[in-house]
């Protein structure tokens, strides 16, 4: 599977979506949780960026923040998200609503539970189109049928009238993709779109999304735990740990010579053969009530030393398109991409 070498040329072209220093905190019974801690990231036109992280790393919240959907008990404490020259976090709810679904769209995980259980899927998809395009029922219906066909649903005319519980998981996911793409958004946020699906269906869904996005030149933010998806479809990777980006890289470079210890431990956990590299990180990512001093990885990192406890590392460029945030980042032995399991 070849990927066009878009390369993560930071700063060489204006990104379509630009997140700067995002902080999101959640206030719960058990106290305050800093879920996103100073995240900065760019999404370029037409690229698919894979945001990788374990459960609880804050991926979904980043996606929600881009849509202005962070609600109590979550609260955005600071930062900007620039889209088309405007800061999404300072927009009125009316303007945000216009952008959602039409400019920036979401593909949710587990579509079967995310669709309205009492409304026919065709009407749901058409509803999105009618809201933003302001067209009549008939035109929306035609466009919906077109989209249902485009996402590979057989017999679209009949399936238009189906309820979500009458569809299989894979079909429901296709419906969700149709609803997300019907207004031709510029940015697609895919939040673990293959959760709960069979492996073969997963592959189909991902291939479908990939081809649709290629056709339209849509930029995509793929939130996932699956490095295989990243390897096959994404041009760039961002590794999220405890609400912070610890590495951003060209996908090629990432799999060839990933530099951050956490990234390496992720790669080690899926590869069958890796020469000479045994970095492992045991346990779960921490949750903070506030940004700690020092590096966020200090509790789990096998390379941690004194400096890691007290000083937060700054970004270091390891190579073209590869930046890492670690005091001890270094190149590692290269990996044969053929061993990647998806």
């Amino acid at each position: 599977m070849t990927r066009p070498d878009a390369g993560g040329r930071r700063g060489t072209s204006r990104p379509i979506l630009s997140i700067r220093d995002l902080h999101v905190h959640f206030f719960t019974e058990s106290g305050r949780r800093a879920v996103v801690n100073g995240l900065s990231m760019d999404l370029q036109y037409g690229e698919m960026l894979g945001l990788v992280g374990e459960a609880g790393s804050g991926k979904s919240v980043v996606g929600l923040a881009c849509l202005g959907l962070v609600r109590p008990p979550g609260e955005i404490m600071g930062g900007t998200i620039i889209y088309q020259g405007r800061d999404l976090l300072s927009l009125s709810s009316r303007d945000l609503r216009r952008i959602r679904g039409s400019h920036i769209a979401l593909v949710p995980p587990n579509a079967r539970a995310a669709l309205h259980p009492m409304m026919r899927v065709g009407h749901q998809i058409a509803g999105v189109y009618r809201t933003h395009a302001g067209v009549g029922k008939a035109e929306a219906r035609d466009k919906t049928l077109y989209m249902l066909d485009a996402v590979g649903i057989p017999d679209p005319t009949r399936r238009f009238h189906a309820y979500p519980h009458e569809l299989s998981g894979g079909m429901a996911q296709r419906v969700a993709i149709a609803a997300a793409l019907i207004c031709s958004p510029k940015v697609l946020i895919a939040d673990e779109p293959t959760t709960g699906l069979d492996v073969t269906i997963q592959a189909q869904i991902l291939a479908l999304m990939n081809s649709l996005i290629r056709e339209t030149g849509t930029a995509a933010l793929m939130l996932t735990r699956d490095l295989g998806i990243v390897a096959h479809y994404c041009q760039r990777v961002g590794v999220l740990y405890a609400g912070q980006l610890v590495e951003t890289s060209d996908t090629n470079a990432f799999f060839a010579k990933s530099a951050h210890p956490y990234s390496q431990s992720l790669l080690n956990s899926i590869f069958s053969r890796r020469r000479g590299n045994t970095v492992k990180m045991l346990g779960a990512p921490p949750t903070f009530s506030e940004l700690p001093t020092g590096c966020v990885c200090k509790a789990r990192c096998p390379w941690a030393t004194d400096i890691c406890q007290t000083e937060a590392p700054t970004w270091r460029t390891m190579g073209p398109g590869q930046e890492v945030r670690c005091h001890w980042a270094r190149r590692t032995a290269p990996v044969d991409k053929g061993n990647v399991e998806t």
Binding site: F27, T28, E29, R32, P72, P73
Partner: protein, 301 residues
């Protein structure tokens, strides 16, 4: 010497600190659960009022005084007197006894009946046992509760016990349904399987393992039902089939007052109603508060 003083000081300081800590925790609890606390305070206050009636009531509750008929509220009779000259305030306090006793006994009895039946119905859900039980409960619940209560009390008798029996009978289905619903899903859970694997028979499984985990929804409901019991008791007494006069009971007092309403004598009905509202409100707030405790979206800074 100084060491001992220091040690004594320290232990005293610790004592004070732990007391301070306890009151801070108490304050935090109150501010986090105002509804629950308000309801509990009201309910307990009324209970105490009933218990201490002989001490706090200024006048005996059933003594007729024809010299003091239908007096408007005044310093000597805070809530006035009724058409028999009985002090309204004192009667309200004594009436708390009856209504609270009824409420609490009803709740106790209907829980004792409804819960095990619900557990059995839930455990055998989908089978004949469950179907028959639920049909029966459906039929019982379809009956016009109030009319049934009136009829039964009129026939059985008008002792407090009769009222309690009737209302308990009307309320047990609610617990039955709640417990049944929980047991229905709990019987498929992993801990149920685990308990079965180590050799527990059905009966033990239901009552020792499943039931303790399924009694959560009972608490808010029981507080709610206590309130309903008071309203029902008062309603029965209002039309004359509840507690017999001259026993002071809020509904009966309202009835007495209603007969003289057209002549402008409003206090005889008004104050007993207020007292009843406070009592029922107390129970309802406790119920709400208990439900709020289980609300996962509560926010705290």
């Amino acid at each position: 010497m100084s060491v001992e003083v220091k040690a004594a000081d320290q232990s005293q300081a610790a004592h004070v600190t732990s007391r301070a800590r306890k009151s801070v925790t108490a304050l935090m609890f109150i501010s986090a659960n105002p509804v629950l606390v308000a309801g509990a305070v009201a309910t307990i206050a009324l209970l105490l009022m009933g218990l201490l009636a002989p001490i706090i009531a200024p006048y005996p509750p059933e003594t007729v005084d024809f010299n003091a008929i239908s007096l408007a509220p005044s310093p000597t009779h805070i809530f006035g007197t009724d058409s028999y000259g009985m002090d309204v305030f004192s009667r309200i306090i004594y009436a708390a006894r009856i209504d609270m006793v009824v409420a609490l006994s009803v709740v106790a009895i209907s829980i004792i009946i409804g819960t095990p039946l619900g557990a059995i119905a839930g455990f055998f859900g989908g089978t004949i046992i469950d179907s028959v039980m639920m049909r029966f409960v459906d039929a019982v619940q379809a009956f016009p509760a109030f009319i049934l209560a009136v009829m039964t009390v009129a026939i059985l008798g008008q002792r407090v016990l009769d009222v309690v029996i009737v209302i308990a009978f009307l309320h047990f289905p609610s617990y039955l349904r709640l417990v049944r619903a929980k047991v229905l899903s709990a019987r498929k859970s992993q801990y149920a399987d685990a308990a079965r694997c180590i050799g527990n028979g059905n009966l033990r499984l239901i009552f020792r393992h499943l039931l303790p985990n399924c009694i959560d929804p009972i608490f808010p409901q029981s507080s709610l039902n206590a309130g309903y019991a008071i309203l029902l008791t008062a309603g029965l007494s209002f039309i004359g089939v509840g507690v017999r006069p001259p026993t002071p009971e809020w509904g009966a007092m309202i009835n007495l007052g209603s007969q003289h309403m057209l002549t402008g004598e409003w206090w005889t009905s008004f104050f007993p109603g207020l007292a009843m509202i406070i009592a029922v409100l107390g129970f309802n707030l406790v119920s709400d508060g208990l439900q709020d405790l289980h609300d996962p979206t509560r926010r705290r800074r």
